[in-house]
Amino acid sequence: MTRRKNGVLVKALILAPYLILLYLLQSTVFTHLQLWGTKPLLLPVAAAGIAFFCGRVEGGVFGLLAGMMMDLACNQLTVQFTLLMTFLGILIGLLSDTVLVQGFPSYLLGCALELVLTSAYQVLSMWVLNGAPIALSAAVGLKQTLYSLIFSLPLYYLSRFYFRVTGSGR
């Protein structure tokens, strides 16, 4: 087996249980951790973290998988989060590759961007498909974003750990 294949295997062996753990936490524990009547989103933050540290390729792949998990956790029949989080993974990875400097503030910015765009998408969907009042939906989206950002701190260390162990991306 080549070194490259070994590297991919190691990454898969780390990311698979990480994703499963995140999914289980998201769909069980975090649904009970309501604050201001809002549940936090863990998977988008984790996806932003991997994209920030590992760049657009791994960001996109992880975003795809995390998006699938997010669709499952949200009982979504459609693949809204799969598409959205893949795109956001690539976008944040691209920003990290080109514009953003490495460090916690930039990471936080990446997470905020992912969460804001995720919330914006949800708010617009609710408005277009269900006619939900946009101000109320936006308030929910804002609370969701702020609450979820709290979890960016522990996930920062996990993402950085993964990056250092695998030497991913740049």
Binding site: N75, Q122, G141
Partner: protein, 280 residues
């Protein structure tokens, strides 16, 4: 300075040992009825004298006590085991008792609705989304559950509808979810309307009864039930009670705010209606 502190420490240590020995001896001699505090309340010399004389005269008793300690330790271990067993029995009893209560409630519902076939299931997980209200239940098409099957709690109150089903599980959208809408009517006066989720009300745990006639009499506390129209839901399932009356943004469309009868947040066991007699 260090020596001084060491001596102080030693003295404090010695004093502590002495006090402990005195306390232990006192407790031992009093058969556990009087502690060190009780001894202090006595005149100083009396207990001291008593303790010293008794100490010499009762070494055998001390030996007996130490010997019994092993016995007590063994007894304590056995009792702990017994307590653990009893706690386990109690947990099982509570579980069975709760299930019995649920089944009794369900029995009442089933007796009233013999035409229905119910499939019990449990709630596995709730949606992670802040923009919907749904959960995953423990049974799917293998148990005869199909898409759009109505779901009730043990009292027969409407919980929601199966909106996606796989072999071993299904997703149930609750009555407060914005995607759900069903024919409803007031139990008291038969006024018809459409019950459905509304995002603003969903965040408060309520739903909306709209498309009601201008002349309809809406009374707070009135019961809202399924009308059975469309054949998706059986008629007569309790949706909830009117908790408020409001008017839409146009000012022309009154609607009732309905508080669900099923305790949506506390759901653990549900019953999927897999078959029922359609009466239109």
């Amino acid at each position: 300075m260090k020596d001084l502190i060491s001596k102080k420490v030693l003295r404090i240590g010695a004093a502590a040992v002495l006090v402990s020995v005195l306390a232990a001896v006192t407790v031992a001699l009093s058969g556990g009825n009087a502690g060190f505090a009780a001894m202090l309340s006595e005149p100083f010399f009396k207990p001291l004298k008593s303790a010293l004389t008794s100490l010499v005269g009762s070494l055998e008793h001390v030996y007996d006590y130490l010997y019994r300690f092993d016995e007590l330790e063994a007894e304590n271990a056995a009792l702990k085991k017994r307590v653990a067993q009893l706690e386990q029995d109690y947990r099982e009893y509570t579980e069975i008792s709760e299930e019995n209560g649920r089944l009794r409630s369900l029995l009442g519902f089933v007796e009233r609705h013999e035409e229905m076939t119910l499939e019990p299931a449990t709630v596995i997980s709730w949606t992670a989304s802040n923009f919907s209200s749904s959960f995953t239940a423990s049974k799917g098409s293998d148990a005869g559950i199909a898409l759009y099957d109505p779901v009730v709690d043990e009292y027969g109150n409407l919980v929601g509808q199966v909106t996606s089903v796989s072999a071993a599980s299904c997703v149930v959208s609750t009555v407060i979810d914005t995607t759900l809408s069903l024919g409803a009517q007031m139990y008291e006066n038969g006024e018809a309307g459409v019950a459905g989720g509304d995002f603003a009300l969903m965040k408060e745990g309520n739903l909306k009864l709209s498309y009601i006639s201008d002349t309809a009499s809406l009374v707070i506390g009135n019961t809202v039930i399924t009308s059975g129209s469309g054949g998706v839901y059986p008629a007569g399932l309790v949706i909830g009670a009117v908790s408020g009356i409001a008017v839409g943004s146009s000012g022309l469309d009154p609607y009732a705010i309905v508080e669900p009868a099923a305790d949506i947040d506390a759901l653990t066991h549900i019953y999927v209606i897999t078959d029922f007699a359609v009466s239109e």
